[in-house]
C-alpha cells in the first residue's frame, strides 16, 4: 500500500485508541472507537484477496454494531441520570447492555464467532494488531465501568470464553485461528476478575499482550502459518524454534514462566471472594488450551522432520526483517521474580 496512506491509517489507529482511553464523555469514547474501526478496515482489506475482503466485512459489521450499542446504552443512561460521564453508568439495564457490546468488540464468547475468521483472513502482522492493539479501547472502557457489572454475567462470559477458547482451538491447524482462540481464552480470564480487582485486569492484559506479541513476532519472523510449516521451522532458525516452545508454555500458564502470574493471582482473588466453582472451572478449562499449545510444541520442537534436509539452515529468497524479539521474549519468560513489585 502507498506508504503515505499506510502511515495515516496507522496514526489514526493509534489516535482512535488513545482518544477512547483518555475520554471522559461517552461521545468522545464512541468517536475513538469509530476512528479505530475506520482506520483498520483498509489495513484488513489491503491485499484485495477475497479472504481479506471477507475478513474486513465481518470485522466492520461486528464493530459498527457494537459501537452503536455502546452509544445507545450511554444515551439511555444520559436520559436516566442526566450525565455523560463514563464512570457514572449506573441505572440498569445500561451496564448489562454495555458489557454485552464490549464483549462483542473484544471477541468474548458467546460473541466470538467473528474473531477466528477475521484473524485468519489477514496476514500475520494485521492479525497481531487485531489481537493486541484492538483489545485496548474496549478494555479501557471496561476498566472504567467495571464496578457496575453483575457477577453472574461476568462469570458466564468468563466460563464460556475459556471453554470455547479451549475446545474450539483443539481442531485447528491454522496458526492464526489458534492464536484467536488463545486470545478468547485469555480474555475470559481477564473478564472474570474485572469486578473484583481492576489491578489484576490490567496486569493480565499487559502480560497477555507481551506473550501474544512474542508469539506473533516468532511466527512472523519464521513465516510459518500452519502447523505443517511449524514442522520445518527448525531449519529457519533453531534458536527461535526452541524459544517458541518455551513461549507456548508461557501462554499455557505454566510456572515458572510469566504466564503463570495472572492465573495464580486471579485464582487467589477468586478464592478469597469464595467464588470457588468459577475458579475451578477456569483452572480446568485452561487445560484445554494447554493441549493445543503442547501440540504445537510437539510438532515444532520435539519431532524430527520426515524428510532428509540437506542443509541445516533454509535458504530464503525474501528475508523477513524481524522486529527485535529479544525484549518481548525475555519478559514473557522471566517476569515471575518481580511479581511482588507489580501486584
Amino acid at each position: 500500500m502507498n506508504p503515505y496512506i499506510m502511515s495515516i491509517l496507522i496514526c489514526n489507529l493509534a489516535l482512535g485508541a488513545i482518544i477512547t482511553a483518555a475520554s471522559y464523555h461517552w461521545f468522545l469514547a464512541w468517536v475513538g472507537l469509530e476512528l479505530n474501526t475506520l482506520a483498520i478496515i483498509p489495513i484488513l482489506a489491503k491485499h484485495h484477496h477475497p479472504r481479506a475482503t471477507e475478513a474486513a466485512t465481518k470485522y466492520f459489521i461486528i464493530q459498527a454494531t457494537a459501537s452503536s450499542i455502546i452509544l445507545f446504552s450511554s444515551i439511555i443512561n444520559a436520559w436516566n441520570t442526566g450525565t455523560w460521564d463514563i464512570t457514572q453508568l449506573t441505572t440498569q439495564p445500561t451496564p448489562t447492555m454495555l458489557l454485552i457490546a464490549l464483549a462483542m468488540k473484544l471477541g468474548l464468547a458467546p460473541m466470538h464467532f467473528w474473531l477466528p475468521e477475521v484473524m485468519q483472513g489477514t496476514d500475520m502482522t494485521t492479525a497481531l494488531i487485531i489481537a493486541t492493539w484492538q483489545k485496548l479501547p474496549p478494555m479501557a472502557l471496561l476498566y472504567l465501568t467495571s464496578n457496575q457489572f453483575q457477577m453472574v454475567l461476568l462469570s458466564l462470559l468468563a466460563i464460556s470464553s475459556t471453554l470455547i477458547g479451549g475446545w474450539s482451538g483443539l481442531n485447528q491447524t491454522q496458526l492464526r485461528k489458534i492464536m484467536a482462540f488463545s486470545s478468547i481464552g485469555h480474555l475470559g480470564w481477564m473478564i472474570s476478575i474485572s469486578l473484583i480487582s481492576k489491578k489484576l485486569l490490567i496486569l493480565t492484559l499487559i502480560i497477555y499482550l507481551l506473550m501474544t506479541t512474542s508469539m506473533f513476532i516468532i511466527l512472523i519472523t519464521s513465516t510459518t502459518k500452519t502447523t505443517k510449516d511449524l514442522g520445518m521451522m527448525w531449519t529457519t532458525s533453531p534458536t527461535l524454534s526452541s524459544i517458541m516452545m518455551i513461549t507456548l508454555m508461557a501462554l499455557g500458564g505454566l510456572p515458572p514462566l510469566t504466564g503463570f502470574i495472572p492465573k495464580w493471582l486471579i485464582l487467589k482473588e477468586l478464592t478469597t471472594n469464595l467464588l470457588l466453582p468459577l475458579a475451578t472451572t477456569l483452572a480446568l478449562s485452561s487445560l484445554l488450551s494447554l493441549m493445543f499449545y503442547m501440540r504445537l510444541t510437539y510438532v515444532s520442537t520435539l519431532t524430527i522432520s520426515p524428510n532428509t534436509s540437506n542443509s541445516p539452515m533454509k535458504w530464503r529468497f525474501k528475508l523477513t526483517k524481524p522486529i527485535n524479539p529479544a525484549p518481548m521474549i525475555i519478559t514473557t519468560l522471566l517476569l515471575i521474580p518481580i511479581t511482588p513489585l507489580i501486584y
Binding site: 475506520l38 475482503t53 474486513a56 466485512t57 465481518k58 436520559w79 442526566g82 477466528p116
Partner: protein, 98 residues
C-alpha cells in the same frame, strides 16, 4: 419514561434485530446499521430539548458526520465484496469458516 424515548428504544431494538437476523443480502445489514444510527441521532436531539441542556446540542451533528463516514466505509466494503465474491449474498462469505 416518556413516550418518545420508549418508541425510540423499540425502534433501535427493531433495527438491531433486523441487523442480526439478516436473510440474504449484505445491503440489508448496512441499511439496518444506518437505521440504528438515525435512531441514535433522534435520541440525542430529543435529549437536548427534553432535558434543556444546550451544551449537548452539537452532539447530533457530530454523530451524523461520523456515521456518514461509517456508512461510506460499509458501502465501500459492499463494492469490494461484490468485486471479489460476485454477489452481496451473506452465504457467499464462507471462505473462512473453521
Amino acid at each position: 419514561m416518556s413516550m418518545i424515548l420508549f418508541l425510540l428504544k423499540i425502534a433501535f431494538l427493531l433495527g438491531l434485530l433486523g441487523l442480526s437476523i439478516h436473510r440474504t443480502h449484505f445491503m440489508s445489514i448496512l441499511i439496518c446499521l444506518e437505521g440504528m444510527m438515525l435512531i441514535l441521532f433522534l435520541m440525542m436531539a430529543t435529549f437536548t430539548t427534553s432535558t434543556n441542556t444546550p451544551t449537548t446540542a452539537i452532539l447530533p451533528i457530530l454523530l451524523l458526520a461520523l456515521s456518514a463516514c461509517e456508512a461510506s466505509t460499509g458501502l465501500a466494503l459492499l463494492v469490494a465484496t461484490s468485486r471479489t465474491h460476485g454477489t452481496d449474498h451473506m452465504k457467499a462469505l464462507s471462505l473462512l469458516k473453521c
